[in-house]
C-alpha cells in the first residue's frame, strides 16, 4: 500500500492513475465537433443577410436549438482542454500557471453557460 498522498502522486512523482483522461476527452470532443462544426458553418452561411427575425426563427426550431447547445458544449469543452495545454506549455512560473489554469476553467464555464442560456431563452421564448 502506498503511503503517498494523492497530491504527491499527481505532482508527477508517480502515476496518479488518470493521466490519459485529458487526452481521451480531447479526442472525444474532437470527434463530436467534426459533424457539429460542419453543420454550424453551413447553417450560418445560409442565414447570411438574414435579419433578427430570421435568425430567431432558425434558433426557435427544437432540432436547431438542441444541436446548437451540443455544438456550444463540445466547442467550449474542447477549447478549455486546448487552452489548458497551451498554458501548461508556455507558463513556467508555478503561481501564474495555477492562476491561468483556474481562469481558463472559469472563463470557459461562464461563456458556455451564458451562451446555452441565450439559446434556451430564444428557443423557449414566444
Amino acid at each position: 500500500m502506498s503511503m503517498r498522498s494523492p497530491l504527491g502522486q499527481a505532482r508527477g512523482l508517480g502515476s496518479a492513475k488518470d493521466g490519459t483522461h485529458h487526452f481521451w476527452v480531447q479526442r472525444i470532443s474532437a470527434v463530436a465537433l467534426i459533424p457539429l462544426s460542419l453543420w454550424f458553418v453551413f447553417s450560418v452561411a445560409q442565414l447570411a443577410g438574414g435579419d433578427f427575425y430570421m435568425v430567431r426563427h432558425w434558433v426557435h426550431a427544437p432540432s436547431v436549438a438542441i444541436t446548437l447547445v451540443l455544438f456550444v458544449v463540445a466547442a467550449l469543452y474542447h477549447s478549455m482542454l486546448g487552452v489548458q495545454v497551451v498554458i501548461e506549455d508556455y507558463i513556467g512560473n508555478e503561481g501564474s500557471k495555477i492562476v491561468a489554469l483556474l481562469l481558463n476553467k472559469f472563463l470557459h464555464a461562464i461563456v458556455a453557460v451564458s451562451t446555452i442560456f441565450a439559446v434556451l431563452k430564444v428557443a423557449l421564448g414566444s
Binding site: A30, L33, I34, V41, F52, V59, L76, S79, V83, F117
Partner: protein
C-alpha cells in the same frame, strides 16, 4: 531579442535563436504551428459565437447593434478568418486523429495529408462563402 545566459554559463545559442536563421521550415512543422495558432484563435472566436447568440436573446435592438459590426467590412474579414481557422483546425484535427490510431506517420503520407489539409480547408471555406453569397 537577446538571450542572456544564466550566471556562470558561457553564451550559447538557445532554441528560439535557431528560428529563421538556421532552422529550415518544413510543411509539417508549419502546419503544426498553424494548428495551435488556429486553436488559440478559435478559443477567442467562441466569444463571437457567444456574442451573436446572447445579443439574439436580447431582442432586435441589441442584436442589430452586434450584427451591424458583423456585416461591416472588418466583421466580414474576421468571419472569413474565423471560418477558415475552424475548417483548417477541423481538417488537420482529422489528421491528428489518424496519428492517434497510429496511421499516417510515413514521411510521404504526412506530406500528402498535409497538402490535402491545406487544399480541403480552402475548398470548404470557399464553399461556405459560396453558400453565403449565393443565398
Amino acid at each position: 531579442m537577446s538571450h542572456q545566459p544564466p550566471k556562470g554559463l558561457p553564451s550559447r545559442p538557445m532554441s528560439p535563436f535557431m528560428l529563421g536563421q538556421y532552422y529550415r521550415f518544413q510543411l509539417t512543422s508549419v502546419l503544426s504551428f498553424i494548428h495551435r495558432l488556429t486553436g488559440i484563435g478559435l478559443s477567442f472566436g467562441t466569444l463571437l459565437l457567444a456574442g451573436w447568440l446572447i445579443t439574439l436573446a436580447g431582442g432586435p435592438e441589441t442584436y442589430g447593434m452586434f450584427a451591424k459590426h458583423l456585416t461591416a467590412w472588418y466583421g466580414q474579414v474576421l468571419l472569413f478568418c474565423w471560418s477558415w481557422a475552424l475548417l483548417y483546425h477541423l481538417c488537420n484535427g482529422i489528421r491528428h486523429l489518424g496519428w492517434d490510431i497510429g496511421k499516417g506517420y510515413e514521411l510521404k503520407t504526412a506530406y500528402a495529408t498535409g497538402y490535402a489539409v491545406v487544399i480541403v480547408s480552402l475548398l470548404l471555406t470557399a464553399s461556405v462563402w459560396a453558400v453565403a453569397c449565393l443565398k
